[in-house]
Structures are given as structure tokens and as C-alpha cells.
Amino acid sequence: MKKKLFIFILISLIMFTLAVNLGAVNIPFTTVWKIAFNRVANFEIFSESWSKGMEVIVWKIRFPRAILGFITGGALALVGVFMQAVTKNPLSDPYILGISSGSAAGAITAMFFNLGGFSVEGGAFLGAFLATIIVIRLTRGDYSSGRLVLTGIAVSAIFSSLINLLIYWVKNDSKVRNAMFWMTGSLGGAQWNKLLFAGVVLILGVIIGMCLCKELDLLLLGEEEARILGIETEKLKLFLIILSSLLTSSVVALTGTIGFVGMIIPHMTRKITGASHRELIPISVIFGGVFIMGADTVSRIIFIPEELPIGIITSALGGPFFLWIIKRGYNFGGKRC
């Protein structure tokens, strides 16, 4: 476990450096970290051999963006892990279940009706919570894949139409552009002062997830089994739903909807860790973070100077992956059943 964790932390540091290093302007690795150390220490440890512009790019733009990428990927992967345990279905993902759409619709509603700065997050949370509850209620405890995915499509469609309706109504250019950003997803809006909330939510989510790893394992056995082994399943599920809504909304409010991460990452991580959540949670979160940092970096450099919306990259990878899982039969890691 420690070895795996160490390797993944190392990979994420390398990916992070690459994410800051690559772009329209390439910045040497050493400079990246020299600037960071100087800024963190608030003191000139390394003498400044770079331009002011370079420092702005590294510290004001790319650093927060890479960190936001990590938080987003980590949070979405964690939500995937939670929702998969709640529904006992490995296809569950905030995007497929429509939770991301609900969250985006909530955020856009809050923004269009000018409910103030923080309410965008609040709206995102309410939207996510509402969407999750609708999905859980409509599936009525039957979390078979067909029913789950179809319900997710329907919920997603309803919230997308709501978003479109709002965009049609408002016709205010800058707001519409903002709304479009929520539809396709982007890390472009990353700023230091916006990272704190999402970062804290992710850290709390990981801590709580680690505390609940025994319970999450038992949930995978099915509700009846979990109950006879001593779990109050209804309470636990409600708690996980609220936590997942909070996690989803904290990143959707900043990045918009980015799909499939929550499904792909836990699935691939289980190949390394097995189904047990004690390893699955930390490694999924790091893996998710690396994945989004990587996808964002690709989206920035593939058509320099144009920037591709990151949702295109994740969906281009996620869609085929989704089909592949459906084709080969899905399970919680290990051998096919």
C-alpha cells in the first residue's frame, strides 16, 4: 500500500510539473519550482533569472490551474467511488447519473438570477443534491445498470433543457458565455482564491471516506448483507449522497461538467488495488487528479494557441471506455464475472 501510494504521489508530482511546464510558452522545469519556492517562502531563495511575465504565467495562471485540475479529478473520482458503493453498480458516475448536469443547472440558475457570489456554489450544491435524490428515488432501489443509466439520461436531459431554456431567456452575452462554459467544462477560470473551498471539501471527503472504508466495503455486498452485518444502510446512503453532492458541486461550480472521470478512474484503480476501499480511495483520488491535470495539459497544447474544452478530451476517452466496459461485462475489479 505504502509503495503504491508513493509511486502515485511521485507520478502526480511529475504530472503537475509537466502541467505547469507545458503550454503556449514552455517554461523550464527548474524555473517552475524555483518560482514556486520563492513565492511560497515569500523570499528570494533563488535569484530571479526569469521575466516578470513568466512568473505571472507560472504562479498566477498555471499553478492554480494545475491544482484545480488535481482537485477536480480527485473529487470526481471520489464521488464515483461513493456512488458506486451506494448503487452497487460500477457504472455510476456523477456525469452519467445526471448529477453534474443538475449541479450545473443549479449554478446557472443562481448566476442568472443574481443571487450573489457564494450562491453559485450553493445553487450548484442544491442542483446536485436534487438530481441525486431524483435518480435514487426513480430507480427505487433497483440499481441494475439499465435502469440506472436510463434514469441518468432522463435526469441529465431535464437539467440540460433547463439550462438551455435559461440561456434562451437571458440573452445577456457575458452570462451566456459563462453558461456555455458550464456545459462543456473548463479549468480556465482557475484562481488561487477559489481553490480553498473545493480543496477543503476534497480533503474532508477523503478523510471521511477513509473513516468509512469498512462501511463502504460492506455496502458493496448489497444492502441486505450490509444491514445484517450491522450497518444502518439508509442513514449511511443518505450521508454519502449529501457528501457526493457537496463534492460534485464544489468542483462543478468552478469547472462546469467534466464527464466520465468518476467512472473510469475507480474502475482502473480497482485493477491495482482490488475492491477494498482502504486503498481504493486514496489511489483513486490521486489517479483522478493526475488524469485531469494530464487531460487539461493536452487540451491546452494540442492546438496551440487555441485551447480545446477539456470535456471534449475526457468524453473522447470516456465514451469508448464506457462502451468497452458494457461490452466486456462490468465488475468491481479483478476477474470478469
Partner: protein
Amino acid sequence: MLEIKNLSYEIEKKNLIENITFDVEKGKFVGIVGPNGSGKSTLLKNVYRTLKGDGKINIKGRCLKVISSKELAKEMAVVSQHGGSEFNFTVCEMVTMGRYPHKGFLGSYNGKDRKIANKAIEKLGLKKYEDRAFLTLSGGERQRALIARALAQEADIIILDEPTNHLDIRYQLQIMEILKSLSVTVIAAVHDMNIASLYCDEIIALKDGKLWGKGVPEDVFTREFFSDVFSVKTEISRHSATQKLSITYLPND
């Protein structure tokens, strides 16, 4: 140990079990018998609280309704008819989960839990499957793993819903032997009447959701019982080696 009083359970106005009353004494091996659809599973599900019917169930003098899930899991281990589907834990992980009710909120499974789990694994002859994924096991091996988990739970009551369903005769007997050797109370739905008479201290017989009779196997297993409840002709004798009842089914003509 366990008192069941006037227990009924209905679904869509149809009584699946009706007015069932019996007590289970500490350390007894109780077999629930009856034809398919006679309410054996419904009765057991009410006891382990997956279904909530009318009537009263007391466990060690306390009403079942007020006990928390975790407390109940410490008193009562359950091996149900179907366990798990798409997860992929190893046998060792599965059995260790039986220790869950004994752990606090933040406690993780420690050396003592592993030791208890290991003992259960060995007892059920699963040592060589320990690191195998649960899903790759055969039906019988899975059933044994689930029983090992129930043992690891160290509860005073073990409830089994047709525990030997998927097992060949060797393991059927072995599991009954193991259950019998434990100083716990066992309540099991049993299909094989010869096995029931060999191992059960007491029989609860159900027909159409009602209690047909109860008592030691010698009292319940009569020719009249088999013709009335199962509509089969039998010849019942006492076996010279086991001194238990031996039931032979006779063709109908």
C-alpha cells in the same frame, strides 16, 4: 434466548406467515422445515429483521425493534440464500468483514480480527482459497466462505437460510457438524429431513405459513406429518448406528 410470539407477515393482504409462536432455548439447534413456499424464509427474515411483520420477537429478553443494527449483528449472524454479486473481494477480506460489528467507528481490522477470521477459514477448509477472489469460487465454496464469515462474527445465534443448498453431501454433513460443535444457538431452514433428524434438537414445522408442529424430531417426524405436510408416503425407523430417525420415502402407488 429467542421468543417469537404471534408473528404474522402479510403482503398484499395475503398472509405469508400467520400467528407463529415458539421459543428457542440457548445452545439448541433448531431446524425449520416445510415445503417450498411454506414461509420458512419469511419467518427467518422476520427474525433477522429484513422483513418487519406484526407480533413480538424478543432476543435475550429485549425487543428486537429497539436493538441497533450493530448490536443485533453482535448477537446474531446470518447466512442468507444469496450473497453478493459483482464485487470482487478475496475470501480472506470477505470473512474478515464478519468482524465489523465488533469494531468502533474508526477502528480497523487488527491482528486479533485476522486471527479469528483465519480460524474460521481453516475450520471451513478454505485455507487454500484464502487469497482467491470470492467470485471465482464455486457455489459450494462461496457458501462455505459465507458460513466462515458468520463464525467470525462470534454471535450467540446463527441463522441459516438453507445453509447446505449448494453443497455436496460431504460438506453438508461437515457444516452441520461444525455448527453442532459450536456452543451457539442455531436456527436453520433445512430441506433434508434425514439431516434434520440427525442434527437438530428441535424441529419447527410449517405448512402454508402456519405452525404445523414443534418438538424433538421424534415427535414431529411421523408418517402423518409427511403425508399431511409434504404429501409423501414414508417409512420411519430408528437407525441402529445413530439411534436417530431414518426416513425412507416410498413411491406413491
